[in-house]
Symmetry: C2
């Protein structure tokens, strides 16, 4: 049973810092990283998951390790960045060996899939709270920002389609960051965001940042069978306001829509609407009438946004 912080770090977190960028990994006052390749910038994001808020404290630690990293890789994907390294801050009620082993399995499986090095961290005692900061590389002129949407752009999120209950749980617990999609969209998408707070809220962020509006055609939304059944009775709340999806929503000039056919990123892409000059998000029901959404998306402090 490891009893000290240093034992813990040594035992569970060291040795995952081998990577072309890592000059000095875990174990010093700070890690040393080589700069991004010439002409590229560093894309940086940080995300926290809190027990009892974002996950159940008694949930599967392996899924949690996966999700913690996936959430940050999804942000990098939405910038069109190639993942490189991460730092981890782990606050634990106690050093539970079995829990840590399982958590690390989930974290490092995904890290090794995307060649992400864990270069540093901090372990502290306290209420179970996990923060991961991830960095990637992207040529700044090709980065997929939120503020690039232009009137006439089309708005296709990549495929949201799903199976049934177990699959939905799996999607919630083990989201796939769309890293390859983000890379494929460099130079093609005019704006992009990952869907963490819900399609309506996240697309809203893109429109606001870009100073434009959009019409979203509900009939075009790719839906899993359970959501399709709700939509069939007129309830579009889940596809519009459900968070934790981690698909990418992006815009591109309508004239370049055909290029999506040959996009090599392993996922289907669906056009769901059109960017317009008039600010605001207009939802168009399948019968052509306006649709009003009452709950827009997840807000961390429970506001009525």
């Amino acid at each position: 049973m490891p009893t000290t912080e240093f034992d813990l770090i040594e035992r569970f977190f060291a040795g995952h810092d081998r990577h072309r960028d890592v000059l000095l990994g875990v174990g010093d006052d700070a890690a040393l990283l080589a700069p991004p390749p010439p002409g590229e910038a560093l894309a940086v994001t940080i995300d926290t998951l809190v027990a009892g808020v974002h996950f159940r404290a008694d949930g599967d630690p392996q899924a949690l390790g996966h999700k913690l990293l996936a959430v940050s890789l999804s942000d990098l994907a939405a910038m069109g960045a190639s993942p490189a390294w991460a730092t981890l801050a782990l606050t634990l009620p106690e050093p539970d060996e079995a829990w840590l082993e399982s958590f690390c399995r989930g974290l490092f499986e995904l890290a090794s899939e995307y060649e992400v090095a864990l270069v540093g961290g901090d372990t502290t005692r306290g209420p179970l709270t996990l923060t991961l900061q991830a960095a990637g590389h992207v040529p700044p002129e090709l980065a997929l920002r939120r503020a690039g949407a232009r009137p006439g752009d089309a708005a296709p999120p990549d495929d949201l389609q799903a199976g049934e209950a177990d699959f939905l749980q799996q999607r919630l617990d083990r989201p796939t960051p769309r890293v390859a999609t983000g890379l494929a969209l460099r130079g093609l998408a005019t704006a992009a965001i990952d869907l963490s707070d819900g399609l309506a809220a996240d697309l809203g962020h893109v429109l606001e940042a870009s100073g434009v509006g959009a019409s979203l055609e509900l009939a075009r939304l790719p839906l899993s069978p359970p959501l399709r059944r709700l939509a069939d009775v007129g309830d579009w709340t889940h596809p519009l306001a459900g968070g934790d999806d981690y698909e990418l929503c992006f815009t591109l000039p309508a004239a370049r829509l055909a290029e999506l056919e040959t996009l090599d990123c392993g996922v289907d892409v669906t056009r769901i609407g059109t960017v317009e000059a008039e600010p605001g998000l207009r939802l168009v029901a399948p019968d052509g009438s306006p649709y009003t959404l009452t709950r827009a998306g997840y807000d961390h402090f429970g506001g009525s946004a």
Copy 2:
């Protein structure tokens, strides 16, 4: 009263991301940072402070904002890195406007003193927990690692001297990261660490990483009057095992000790011992006899390290 996460970010944390390195700051999926200057690497560290563990939940939020950043800047200082930017993960029981205003005052005062940009963050609801990740620049061959101590090196930490009670509290609440000292030590120190867990434990990390040992002469330790009074009755526990000091402890070749006289870093430096080939830390009491320490330093999981 801000009710949504986005209001909070906009109101308290945006606008502190202007910096030569920042290509895209707060408000997108990820921030975009220019690479370090040619020939330099990125030094990266992450630290967490937990309410009830590292600070009192009802303590001064301004001091807390200062300390959160100071702790990370101290790590960068101990690498000889020049601070550049930071990301912040803030978990709060509720969005308390007065608390946030005061916290931000402490954080951003120190950030602007060291020209550190806050480029991204995440705010979540939960038990009060603060994580800050900071990055700086350093030519990798000049970085002050822990593993560079060589037998014959001298071990001077810079000045630990202090005043009395209020001053000690001030030192605990508002530590000064020794950034200028770290920069001045590039190319001179053979190893360095910042004293967060206590002199004996932190110097122990340097010795272990370097594969050497040291003799520490207690009579040489610069002590504040209250610690001096304890030392006079033979109690060296506090100067050796007290954490949260954030001074730098470093080693350098004995032949270069004279260069410390002209070191331009605004703090006094004291030689406290000698690096030796034989592993282990030997404490030498003022009368020349060996001194044994029973409690070596702060450990986050309460082990008996």
